[in-house]
Amino acid sequence: MMAGNELYVATALGLIFIGLATVTIKRNLIKMVIGFSVADTGVNLLIVALGWFPNRTAPIIDDPSLLSDRATLAVRSAAIVDPVPQALVLTAIVIGVGVTALMLAYVIRLYATEGSLDVSRFGRMKW
């Protein structure tokens, strides 16, 4: 049982690294897209990790024991993890989905125009 969340951070960084490495090194467009979603996942994991606290429950108040004061419905702040990063992640994920979808659409069309998925084939405009 780890006190901090090095594990998550390390994993997240690892995912980001793998993703971006794929993006910059693999020449296949599809793989580049995959790389991006891997990296996105890494970022999302990192964000959640930022809001994570050891032995606290999710920010869903389904039993009164979590409340410090029933009248004002105030929640014991030590009881739950930070809800904000989770909200942010939700948004980030959806955005990631959107971008990935668009990228795939691009790949489809690029393949249609060039008949190839090699990124180096798409460098006509330069200098």
């Binding site: 901090g4 969340n5 090095e6 951070v9 390390a10 960084l13 690892g14 980001i16 690294f17 971006l20 490495a21 910059t24 090194i25 990192l46 990790a49 930022l50 809001g51 994570w52 606290f53 050891p54 999710a58 920010p59 869903i60 108040i61 389904d62 409340l67 004002t72 419905l73 105030a74 929640v75 702040s77 739950i80 930070d82 809800p83 904000v84 989770q86 909200a87 942010l88 939700l90 948004t91 994920i93 959806v94 955005i95 989905v97 959107g98 971008v99 979808a101 668009l102 795939l104 659409a105 691009y106 489809i108 069309r109 393949y111 249609a112 125009t113 008949g115």
Partner: protein
């Protein structure tokens, strides 16, 4: 050569980022977060604090989020509006098992998705998750039968109206309590942990669920038919 440089650069970058780990370590809740924790339930009556943050406190983000999805779906449609130059060899039709399984699973999956976004303010999940599940049901059908033609008109209406509804809800808030997407005095907040509580939040989340579901379905449809002959239908 370039690959090596990229690799080294990235490695260095990763090492560099590792310096941020200490910052990432658990500390006390920030001022905003602790406000949500201590007042969230009272202010929104939504048992799922994440949902109150997503739909109310940071509802504007969520509107943007929906917009992003909508935009990317339109974008995909726009990018794929031309069908020229793609030749996809037809694969043989899906097997009996898949078709039957898909038909069997479709209704329960849709129901499950609906459940998720209807209970978004009480239980984990919400509009997006629910919508995604619903869309996955559609995906099942498509897997079973590639030539399946979805009811585009209906999806379109659903998409548009649910999105419009979201904005409308926001504007209602603006009119009623002077703040966009406000959750006061529109629908009574009710008591927490009940299905009918948290004011307008569930309404919005249902709309989101419908929108996400229909949009993702449309997205799948466009992508699957990217290679079909003829102009895309708008």
């Amino acid at each position: 050569m370039k690959q090596i440089v990229s690799f080294l650069a990235l490695a260095t970058l990763a090492v560099l980022l590792w310096n941020l780990a200490p910052i990432a370590m658990p500390s006390d809740l920030g001022p905003v977060a602790s406000h949500y924790v201590s007042h969230g339930l009272q202010e929104n009556r939504g048992s799922n604090l994440v949902t109150s943050v997503v739909v109310n406190y940071r509802g504007f983000d969520t509107l943007g989020e929906v917009t992003v999805l909508f935009l990317s779906v339109s974008g995909v449609g726009f990018v794929l509006r031309r069908r020229s130059g793609l030749k996809v060899h037809r694969q043989r039709p899906a097997s009996e098992i898949i078709t039957t399984g898909a038909r069997m699973l479709f209704a329960p999956t849709v129901l499950f998705g609906a459940y998720i976004f209807v209970h978004g303010h009480l239980t984990p999940g919400g509009g997006f998750q629910g919508g995604a599940v619903v869309a996955s049901a559609v995906l099942l059908l498509i897997l079973a039968d590639r030539d399946l033609v979805l009811p585009h008109a209906a999806l379109g209406w659903l998409e548009s109206l649910s999105g419009f509804g979201f904005v409308l809800a926001g504007v209602v808030g603006l009119v009623v309590s002077g703040s966009f997407l406000a959750n006061h005095g529109i629908i009574p907040l009710g008591t927490w942990n009940r299905l009918l509580s948290a004011g307008i939040i569930p309404v919005i989340y249902v709309l989101i669920g419908l929108k996400v579901g229909s949009e993702l379905a449309a997205l799948l449809d466009v992508m699957v038919h990217a290679a079909d002959e003829g102009e895309a239908h708008s």
